[in-house]
Every structure is written in structure tokens, then in C-alpha cells.
């Protein structure tokens, strides 16, 4: 009798559970390094060289270098760790999230002003 993972039925959602945490360990620790101004400068100066210092997978490197946050999340990145990366770009949560859902910042803000993404149709993979 394994653990309850009923949250895996939720569409468009990757819960940061043990499996994801293990997969993303070094990716997230890489993000943590960007809390220091000197590291942010070094990273922005030569991104490829900086990420090569970390034991990341090819997909994780690609996700970071292309700022493909959905890919980062699939590869174990957690949004609060990833925020150190988009803050390094001086991007906000709002701007980053709009990119994750494939909207322009304006369209995304419009959706939020209209009450956000509705829950109807978004509860379960069977339903959506």
C-alpha cells in the first residue's frame, strides 16, 4: 500500500513531492546560489560557464539557459527556488507565470482582472 498520490490527478500541476525534489535537487541548489549579488553578476556575465559548474542534466541546463520554466518544473525545479533565477532577470512572478501559461503579460493580467483561471474544468485530469 503505497502513499496517497491523488494530487497527481490534478491537471496542469506538478506537485513538488519527494520524486520531484530528488530530481531537481541540484537545479534548485543552483538557483539558491543566485541569492548572492556576486553570483548573479557572474551568471549574467557568462551563463553557460556558470551553469556548467553545477551537476545539472542537459534538460535542466536547457531549461535554465532558455528560461523555459515549464521545462525547469518538469525537471524538478520548484517555483520558489526558480524565483531566484527570474528575479536575477528582474522579472516578477506575474510576468514569469504569464510565460508559463503561454500568454502575453497583458492577456494574463486581463484574465486575472476577470477573476483568474476558473476552477471549473480544471479539477481533474478526467474532467479537463
Amino acid at each position: 500500500m503505497a502513499l496517497d498520490k491523488s494530487y497527481q490527478d490534478i491537471p496542469g500541476t506538478i506537485v513538488f513531492d519527494a520524486e520531484m525534489s530528488r530530481k531537481g535537487y541540484h537545479l534548485n541548489q543552483f538557483c539558491m546560489s543566485l541569492r548572492k549579488e556576486e553570483n548573479r553578476k557572474r551568471f549574467l556575465g557568462n551563463e553557460q560557464a556558470y551553469v556548467d559548474e553545477w551537476p545539472l542534466t542537459d534538460l535542466q541546463r536547457k531549461g535554465v539557459l532558455e528560461r523555459d520554466y515549464n521545462l525547469c518544473i518538469e525537471e524538478g525545479g520548484n517555483i520558489y527556488f526558480l524565483s531566484k533565477l527570474f528575479y536575477t532577470d528582474e522579472h516578477s512572478f506575474e510576468r514569469t507565470v504569464s510565460k508559463m501559461v503561454g500568454m502575453t503579460p497583458e492577456t494574463y493580467r486581463e484574465m486575472m482582472l476577470n477573476g483568474g483561471r476558473p476552477i471549473e474544468g480544471n479539477r481533474s485530469k478526467g474532467e479537463s
Binding site: 543566485l34 518544473i73 507565470v97
Partner: protein, 281 residues
């Protein structure tokens, strides 16, 4: 004897901090939020606590993945402001209350809560944004603050039931403290929001409304809500709301509602805010 007399609940959205720090609280987007907080700030000024037990979650600031405590209490004299990626927020350092914090730590550990005792860590927007909302931009925070961290990032967080039980244990601990202190407890985070992947932007006003109603009237019933329901209905980051149960239980059963506010959107999030006072106080 120390007593918990009030509980304040509030989202702790980074963009709200950015609006305060950047001076954009008057604009069309933010003024509906900050106008409503004028009442709360006045109430707070009229009801100044000696100490706030501030229940929040660290967002990869004090801890990274090497150490993930479920419950952690800050026992030091003071706490610096964390650099979350674009420099620390321009707010005063947080002054702790080591006497009460250590008392609470010892009391709840003996009461079967497996706390992590912490010294020398930095606090992030989870703690500072609610302080800014309630106190504005003073040169120094007007009271002491005990940071109380709950893991809600690494699944699984503590269950709602465990958070509810912890709240009761915190009340008992405070009431065993010999000094006369007016203590407030704050619950932060939420309400519905999802900051990641393709369902991001989710808002569930109906579920949030029901959460607020039940939190006030029957928190023990609310404590049965499963993690999957939080994530499904309130979004992957909406699970932060388990922290509200800690503060609600700590206040005791009978409460008066002083303030209630719900607003969509604040950046990606449904902003929720409550002030409750202990009914017999």
C-alpha cells in the same frame, strides 16, 4: 500571564511588498487593496501587541533543500532581511523575543511537537509583507516578532489537523509564560493561487469564501481538509492556507470578527485578510 488576544490573517504576496517599497500603492491596480488596509492599520495602531507570533513559510531563503524542517521557531535576538534575488526589501530588521520564543519551544516540544529550534537566519517576504501591510513603513517595527516557519513547499506539509493541534499547543505555551504580555498571532499565505505550470493563475473564490467562513466558525472541521483538496481547489501554492489553522486554533474557540477582506487579483493571487479578536478579551 501572557495571553493571545488577537489573530491577523493575510496573504504575503511579493508584489504587495514591491508596491509598498516602490510607492505604487495609490495606483488603480493597488488602491482597492491598500484602501481596505487603512482600517486594519488603524486597528493595529489601537491594539498594539507586545509580541507577534508570526506563522509563515520560508520561500527558499532561510533554508534550502539540505534542511527542510516541518515546524521551526526563531529564537534569536533579531533577524535580518533576506536577499531573495534582487536585494533585501528596504524594511527594518525584525526584533525577536528570545525569552518567549525559547519558552514556547520548550513547552511545545514537551507537548509532543517536534520543533526545530533556529537561530541566526534571515526572514523573507512571507514574514515582512504582512508586517508592511499592518504597520506601513516605520523606521523600526513597533513590537517584537517571533518567526514561526511551517514547511509548505516540500510536499507533504504538515496536515491541517496537525497545524490546528499546534495552534492549541501554542496557546497553552503562551499562557504558561509568567510575564504579562499581549501576544498576537498571525497566519499568513494564500488564498487560492497557483504559481507554476500550465494551470497557473487559478483562482477559486467560492472555495476561498467557504474557507473563510469555516475558519471563523468551525476551524476544527476545516482542519480535516486534505492536502489534495487544497491543491486541487486552491492551487498548488494555496496549500499555504494550512498555516491559517495554526493561528486560528491558537486564538481559542470564541472569536469576534473585526475585519474581513477578499480581493482578486493581487498579482497571481486571491488576497485574503481577516482580523479576529478573542471573544472574552
Amino acid at each position: 500571564m501572557a495571553r493571545i488576544t488577537s489573530a491577523v490573517f493575510s496573504s504575503h504576496i511579493p508584489a504587495v511588498g514591491a508596491a509598498i517599497d516602490g510607492g505604487t500603492t495609490d495606483n488603480e491596480y493597488w488602491s482597492p487593496v491598500f484602501k481596505r488596509f487603512e482600517f486594519s492599520k488603524q486597528w493595529q495602531a489601537d491594539n498594539k501587541p507586545d509580541v507577534i507570533i508570526l506563522v509563515y513559510n520560508d520561500h527558499a531563503s532561510a533554508f534550502d533543500l539540505r534542511v527542510v524542517p516541518t515546524f521551526a521557531i526563531g529564537c534569536s535576538e533579531s533577524f535580518e532581511i533576506a536577499d531573495e534575488g534582487w536585494g533585501p526589501r528596504p524594511v527594518p530588521p525584525v526584533i525577536g523575543h528570545p525569552d518567549l520564543a525559547w519558552h514556547i519551544a520548550q513547552s511545545v516540544i514537551l507537548d509532543s511537537f517536534d520543533l526545530t529550534i533556529c537561530n541566526d537566519f534571515k526572514v523573507d517576504h512571507g514574514l515582512t509583507v504582512p508586517l508592511s501591510l499592518m504597520f506601513g513603513q516605520p523606521d523600526a517595527w513597533p513590537c517584537k516578532v517571533i518567526p514561526f516557519m511551517v514547511n509548505v513547499i516540500q510536499y507533504p506539509p504538515p496536515t491541517g489537523k496537525r497545524c490546528f493541534d499546534l495552534g492549541n499547543a501554542l496557546r497553552n505555551a503562551v499562557e504558561k509564560f509568567d510575564e504579562d504580555l499581549n501576544v498576537h498571532i498571525w497566519g499568513t499565505g494564500g488564498m487560492s493561487h497557483q504559481l507554476q505550470y500550465t494551470r497557473a493563475g487559478l483562482i477559486n473564490k467560492e472555495w476561498d469564501t467557504n474557507f473563510l467562513n469555516t475558519l471563523i466558525a468551525d476551524p476544527e472541521e476545516l482542519s480535516k481538509t486534505s492536502h489534495t483538496e487544497y491543491i486541487r481547489e486552491a492551487g498548488s501554492e494555496g496549500i499555504e492556507l494550512v498555516m491559517w489553522l495554526v493561528a486560528r486554533a491558537a486564538l481559542g474557540a470564541q472569536v469576534n470578527e473585526i475585519q474581513r477582506f477578499y480581493h482578486v487579483p493581487a498579482s497571481n493571487t486571491a488576497l485574503g485578510h481577516l482580523i479576529l479578536e478573542k471573544a472574552d478579551s
